[in-house]
Symmetry: C3
Subunit: 357 residues, 3 copies
């Protein structure tokens, strides 16, 4: 066999020194979401939020049909960015300013575009932090959601010059004023019995903590299927053999799988939190592995009225997930400011909930 | 952090002393079923009954399209009752008088309502038996199916007074006269080649036993996905960590997963048993766990003509499932009246099958 | 219990001595494919070929919507033949002359018909080789695909006479002239950014080798779900208990699962290889088991223009999959003509790829 000289066809993805400020990346693999995707998402998480599971219930709330679960939409839009943004990341550092602007419906086609909004080389000269704003569009070019994340990425050539450091100014919390209630939504006839809880926006108080009680054990194939729904191709989640020599010795669970599991578990205590309106920030505190059991608890961080609306309000919620540890005593940060070793996720977000009318 | 005093938001579910005779419970989480749910059900069980897998075949039998698998419909309607009826159950004691009245089609939305029809406290004063009739409706308020089950549930307060004992009078077998043939169904041009077997209603005899030959090993994620399709949230099936201190030391497989697996395996021997018409009774004799291999066999208990129909008849079938034991010798109850230790399920039901015309 | 004498209802399937030359078998279980099946296929393989994941992208290429993945269509058509052709096979020996003639779309209903085109008893008198041509049709009786395979099957009665040996003359490669471009397909405005690679037909050279880099670990439930999507009921894939006494001691992964995994991994390097046009041949070199990690590499064996088309060309690709071994050095046959022990699959096929216009 004679060696053929052509350009290598395999994409290695971008490294820190591949990015430049202001760069815009149109991501590959547009995706039409279907009731099939919804069904798999339900089979993986067993979410019971009535608005997302019943077209009739959604119509009773003024929508044309059940929208897709917001977190699922987030994962799909996120997943497209992985091959270009984080395939060479050594750490996913944070999220900010994520707003859900338009529900995603079965039949919609999603595209994602990312803009590089910050770059800062680390002092070791081998890695740097890339800040990106990614936007998911539907087939009508309407923005479905928009968010910022920052990742630590390896440099391809450690000798390449450091860019001028630019760190974007990011809000620690999405302003309640900027939350967007889905078009047409009307909670004035919301059915709390079918919704699964008598508790509405008025019944929650800032500072209140809720143990979501139930636990869910993560099966290997479930987290891999979940990761593939969003076409997230990060090797670390799929290649158990390749992970053997690493410090974990096995494949890691996609962080989004823990978010989705926690969101589904939070139904017991937040059953009427129909929509995720924004993600203020989030941290994957510890990795999860197949066989771990996820528990979680939530704290109400804030409440906000929605301008011009008597039927819907917003709750700012912090949900903390653990592994192999029940959450009756709300494990989080300990006195020394460190997280309890069981904590895997600390997520800060806004939800919409019907008000008492 | 100051403790906030509000009503606890988490539902603990009902205990024996929460129920009262005649009580009606509208269950949460209405559910629109889709071709996505059908696809997952097929991927989990590999059912090959032609009427449920081909829209064209269903149209050839007078239906508008393929209906959902009856047992899947049963699980979805059943699942809604779990948070209110059996989340605090220590045992699922039995089923009776279950009739399938209307096929469920993709696009239909299901609601379930339950009525408490019996209550009997146990002599230990700590538990009691609750008898309920649950009814699944579609979006046109048509009854899809109706069944009775009874469960042993813990009391919340052992000191609470015992209710007057009421035990409903339940039929040991659904009368063949009350079976409802799906509207429009016409088996006069049934294609036995595509159906997968030359054998029709006339070919089966009361007392005949059939070994379904094949075995299916249960994977952990499969039984959990199956359980979530029906939004059944019983902890015992999902929380492996929480189950460690129990006598089983691990999560248990949802009994419905064994029913569905056995129904799918029964195709080899009962390929033209297109519809489940009724469930007369059933018992989960032993629990199943991930890794168990399911085998099963069936016995024809009875045959019935359907009034006014020459194209369809009913067979009363008993299907017995085992774990890790082939069924060539039809293991069931032994001479001393006890079940063979391999038996996990003993189900008594009616099916519809085409007649020779 | 008195024994009832009726014909046995369980199908044992065909043995070598059940087949005769020219025999035509209409297979059971017609199947309507849906967006649910597509969603599960995507969740199992994470394929990122834009044409199959976005209806909008497909419309931009002249099609009505996204067609189903070709390999998925192949598995579904193949799966129907298993109960009649290979349930008693001791080995799946080969494939040839497989052409994809019409894309399969969600909503289509598939039937498969098989013709016996060759028979040759082995000298041991206990087994024989059956050659069959299987054809998948949609509900309009249009041929979706057509292929030949040959399997070694046990005889039921070793004393039965050997048939006259007939071995069909099969092409080692499907002629490029006979490849059929999907009706309506127009690649003149193909978007390489959304497609995921800048490389088009012109950029690949015969002899070029591509390491697809990524690895995917096979989970037990994933390969079983994949096998059931196609209603393939071969026991060897499902019955772990029954496999314990065999030389493998456990269930084997359906060979098609490895093909689909390799096809999905090949996206990284062949992102614009939108359609599989033909399968020239293939061999499952070694069995795979749950827990194995699949890697693969490809070689461009040939290139062909398509008569009358400037927008699309064909590449003949050989994809070799391994288990637990990365493919940077392209493991295949060693100097002595034997396969490296890590190799599980050696597949030779044609793909269509857009040309530079």
């Amino acid at each position: 066999v004679t060696a053929v000289k052509t350009k290598p066809k395999t994409t290695a993805g971008n490294f820190f020194d591949s990015f430049h400020l202001g760069q815009e990346i149109r991501h590959a693999t547009p995706r039409t979401v279907t009731t099939g995707d919804v069904a798999i998402y339900n089979a993986l998480y067993g979410a019971r939020f009535a608005l997302q599971t019943s077209d009739e219930f959604a119509r009773g709330c003024g929508l044309a049909r059940s929208p897709m679960d917001d977190i699922c939409a987030f994962h799909i839009i996120f997943g497209k960015t992985v091959p270009d943004v984080s395939i060479n990341a050594m750490a996913n550092l944070g999220y900010a300013d994520c707003r859900f602007l338009k529900p995603l419906y079965p039949g919609d086609t999603i595209n994602t575009v990312t803009k590089v909004i910050g770059l800062k080389q680390n002092s070791n000269g081998k890695t740097g932090i890339v800040y990106v704003r990614s936007t998911g569009y539907n087939q009508r070019k309407e923005t479905v959601l928009d968010y910022v994340r920052w990742v630590m990425v390896y440099k391809k050539d450690p000798a390449s010059p450091a860019p001028d450091p630019v760190v974007p100014d990011l809000p620690s919390v999405v302003s309640a004023d900027s939350l967007v209630v889905p078009e047409g939504l009307d909670f004035s006839k919301y059915d709390t019995v079918l919704g699964g809880s008598e508790f509405l926006w008025e019944d929650y108080e800032t500072g209140e903590k809720i143990d979501h009680v139930d636990g869910r054990t993560i099966a290997e194939s479930e987290h891999m299927m979940a990761t593939r729904i969003s076409e997230n191709n990060a090797r670390i989640h799929f290649d158990d053999y390749g992970q053997k020599p690493t410090r974990y010795g096995q494949r890691l669970v996609f962080g989004g799988h823990v978010i989705s599991t926690a969101r589904a578990l939070s139904y017991n205590g937040l059953a009427n939190a129909c929509f995720v309106a924004a993600i203020n920030g989030g941290r994957h505190v510890n990795p999860s592995f197949g066989g771990d059991t996820v528990y979680c608890w939530s704290e109400i961080l804030d409440k906000a009225e929605i301008k011009g609306r008597r039927d819907v309000g917003a709750l700012r919620v912090r949900t903390v997930a653990t592994k192999d540890r029940a959450c009756a005593d709300f494990p989080g940060k300990t006195a020394d400011g460190e997280y309890d070793s069981s904590v895997t996720l600390d997520l800060d977000y806004w939800v919409f909930m019907p008000r008492r009318v």
